[in-house]
């Protein structure tokens, strides 16, 4: 409702630029300035929600009003490069949801950071990147064209790079033997994240540019207009599927899907707040957002034109998603660090979202899968931020990363424990009460509805694994006896204590939020209008009236999905309870050693990438430098010069300076010329 939506990304960016200036005043002023900027951004984000609820026809792209009339959100566009590109803002349900996640959760995390980053000396850099990130994320989701989305996309990547490597000065031992100190490892992790996502971005940029070449526009609304002539042109050129897959490359990189998922676990090297905001709630959702943004356009094109390449594309999306979900869940089972477990669970949950969206694209009625995917996105943003912040609270207080050095601290940190429990239950997808319950069931329903039984089965198995590792994490961290590490710390007089209020309050807000979202879905399980139908109405314009006929709660598909979901929760929970919550101080001893090693090494994918793409590439480039550049081209140049010099040196010897010799040369020349003249004469 507040004036204009671009302020959402302009304000935090300007705030970020001002941070170095404000920090000249005092440290406290800087911290509170950042919080205020975050708060203003959140208010702006919240203020757009009523506009959306009042209805907004996305497909026709009716602008609310022209800039700068009061209340303008829609077609705010200024020419950025005249004739090519307008900078504009697109306000629709999806972008408003995403902007609220980025700004709202971002604000809570900024508040939390006041406590968490209290002692850090480099807070100026921290606030700068955090605010810049919020601005970039808002730009990404509010942009009305692909190129600006890409710009926001790269800005968040840049901030992610800056924040993962934030602690590059730490001198502790490195977790990875490739690096000497912890700081170097952190910087390397940031670089790994940037380069890996860059690979996806390359594909995305190619896809955007191909789309631009054929459609002549970057604008989402203009892509829909005009009967999808560009889709026909692409299909005739045989480029439809490649272009879509290239476009999907960006989300694969940014949302850490197989085969580019390797960067996200390393991204946990940054501060926990960063992990919570960037690597759980906001940035990694950018990929899901982009697919959700493009899906209605492409799906509509399929319905109009009927190119089967589009269906193939969505099948690829769904299989990549569910494959990643399974892959990451298995890896998460064995991890020893609390943040690593959460990282793998993030990858896994993102895979779920892609699976839902992919499934939505393969059927005519895309609404069910689409809403399941986007709803899971929102729910996950909230409970994963909660989990990370709770984990951060634990880390802050125990001063260690490994879960096995914690244990039995639920009495010392009651609020952290309670909020963490809410998060874990949400992650496990406990239906009826917690966020994540309904969306998981909806994803399963969508898979069934699409008739994709194999995908359904893998999703169900993954759900069980998810329950298992989330309770494993909870059990090892909070239950059982205190570890020897903690006991030693207590001997030194360092007791585990509850975190300050400034950290606990955001946790509670997020926990309440996830319960509210969970409870609000209760009617949906019984076929009454609840969240699902509300969302369907909400997204109706976006997904183009292709909602499924109402699925009654008694529908066997829904019941099957719900039953499977509950069964999987039990299957996952019982062993986790036996092994980790009711344990008697036992350490986690691997049962199947080969499988354990295999999972611990992340299916050897990471090692493979390092061997081939990092070390292999550097090795190859050094080899190329040595053998092609130095021994080849450079050598050739030298041979050329030396050869010329050698030849002239030899030739110089004939220049004796003796007059007789010179004259002999003249004589020979005359004779040759005479002979030539004679020959010419004779020939003529």
């Amino acid at each position: 409702m507040l004036p204009f939506a671009p302020w959402l990304w302009v304000i935090p960016m300007i705030g970020a630029v001002l941070i170095p200036v404000v920090s000249k005043i005092s440290g406290a002023a800087r911290d509170y300035f950042a919080i205020v900027i975050g708060g203003i951004t959140m208010i702006f984000a919240l203020s757009i929600i009523p506009d959306i609820i009042n209805g907004y026809d996305w497909f026709t792209g009716v602008a609310l009003a022209d800039f700068p009339t009061t209340g303008a959100h829609g077609d705010w566009a200024i020419p950025w490069i005249s004739g090519f590109l307008n900078m504009g803002v697109l306000v629709d349900p999806l972008s408003v949801f995403m902007a609220n996640i980025a700004s709202g959760i971002g604000f809570l995390i900024l508040v939390y950071s006041l406590g968490y980053m209290h002692h850090d000396p480099d807070k100026m850099r921290y606030w700068f990147f955090m605010l810049f990130f919020i601005g970039g994320m808002d730009l990404l989701v509010l942009a009305d064209n692909l190129l600006m989305t890409f710009i926001g996309w790269e800005i968040v990547g840049l901030c992610s790079y800056g924040l993962i490597g934030f602690w590059h000065k730490h001198t502790g031992p490195s977790p990875d033997p490739r690096y000497k100190t912890e700081g170097e490892y952190n910087a390397a992790c940031g670089m790994k994240a940037f380069i890996t996502t860059r690979v996806g971005d390359v594909a995305l940029l190619i896809g955007i540019i191909i789309l631009f070449t054929y459609a002549g526009t970057f604008n989402y609304l203009e892509l829909v207009e005009g009967g999808f002539g560009w889709v026909t042109a692409l299909a005739n050129g045989g480029l439809l599927l490649p272009a879509l897959i290239l476009l999907f490359g960006g989300p694969v990189g940014k949302s850490a899907q197989f085969p580019l998922h390797v960067w996200l676990p390393e991204a946990m090297a940054g501060p926990t707040t960063v992990s919570a905001l960037i690597h759980a709630a906001a940035m990694v959702k950018a990929g899901v957002y982009l697919v959700a943004r493009v899906l209605p356009i492409v799906h509509e094109a399929y319905l109009v034109l009927g190119y089967t390449e589009i269906i193939t594309f969505f099948q690829i999306v769904s299989w990549v998603g569910i494959g990643t979900a399974f892959l990451a869940a298995t890896m998460g089972v064995v991890k020893k660090e609390i943040k690593q477990v959460l990282a793998y669970s993030t990858i896994s949950q993102l895979g779920y979202m892609f699976a839902a969206l992919g499934v939505a694209g393969t059927v005519i009625e895309s609404a069910a899968g689409y809403i399941a995917g986007t709803f899971h996105l929102i729910a996950h943003a909230i409970f994963k931020a909660l989990l990370f912040l709770a984990a951060g609270s634990v880390l802050h207080s125990t001063n260690t990363k490994s879960m096995f050095e914690m244990g039995g601290i639920r009495k010392d940190m009651p609020w952290t424990y309670r909020t963490m429990l809410v998060g874990v239950l949400s992650l496990a997808g406990i239906p009826f009460i917690f966020a994540g319950g309904w969306s998981k069931e909806a994803i399963l329903t969508a898979a069934l509805q699409a008739g994709n039984i194999l995908l359904f089965a893998i999703a169900a198995i993954t759900a069980a694994i998810t329950v298992f590792y989330s309770f494993r994490m909870l059990g090892i961290t909070f239950f059982g006896n205190k570890s020897s590490y903690l006991q030693e710390m207590e001997k030194k007089g360092h007791h585990v204590h509850e975190s300050p209020k400034v950290m606990i309050v955001p946790l509670i807000i997020l926990a309440v939020g996830s319960i509210i979202i969970g409870v609000s879905t209760i009617p949906d399980f019984f076929g009454v209008s609840g969240w699902e139908s509300a969302l369907t109405v909400f997204f109706e314009e976006l997904i183009g009236h292709h909602a499924a006929a109402e699925i009654p709660a008694t529908n066997p598909l829904v019941l099957t999905a719900l039953g499977t979901s509950i069964a999987m929760i039990l299957i996952g929970f019982i062993p986790a309870y036996m092994l980790y919550i009711r344990r008697d101080g036992k350490q986690d001893t691997p049962t199947f050693k080969p499988l354990y090693t295999f999972l611990m090494n992340r299916w050897y994918i990471n090692a493979f990438y390092y061997a081939f793409f990092v070390d292999g590439f550097i090795w190859a480039s050094r080899g190329a430098y040595k053998y092609i550049e130095e021994a080849g081209i450079d050598r050739f140049n030298d041979v050329l010069t030396n050869g010329t010099r050698g030849f002239t040196e030899k030739f110089r010897k004939t220049h004796t300076g003796i007059l007789s010799m010179n004259m002999l040369g003249v004589l020979i020349g005359i004779i040759i010329m005479a002979a030539a003249a004679l020959a010419v004469l004779l020939l003529i």
Binding site: G657, I658, L659, S660, M663, L664, V666, L667, I670
Partner: protein, 106 residues
């Protein structure tokens, strides 16, 4: 007027003088002889000019004549200077053998 077939003979004579001069330059090591060779060379060139100037097609060309006269005078100067160089070289090094003079340079 010089008949055309005779022109060929004079051109041949000029070429012969030129070749003689060159041959002398190649073969001799005496500086005085070198100067003589140069003079013969120049004479060959002069003869060429005059022969052409005397042909019926070109008519008697006073420009060719004046060029040759100038050149003759220059040739005399060349001889004078070259000889004075030779004398100086002789006074300095006691020889006029160009090979020996060259060795002295090194």
């Amino acid at each position: 007027m010089l008949p055309l077939n005779l022109l060929w003979w004079y051109l041949g004579a000029a070429a012969a003088l030129y070749v003689i001069g060159l041959y002398a330059l190649v073969s001799t090591r005496n500086m005085i002889k070198t100067v003589i060779a140069i003079e013969i060379l120049i004479d060959g060139a002069h003869l060429n000019f005059i022969a052409f100037a005397a042909t019926p097609t070109a008519g008697i060309d006073p420009i060719a004549h004046s060029i040759v006269i100038t050149s003759i005078i220059i040739g005399g100067c060349i001889a004078a200077i070259a000889l004075s160089l030779a004398i100086n070289a002789y006074k300095h090094y006691g020889t006029i053998d160009i090979k020996k003079l060259r060795r002295l340079r090194e």
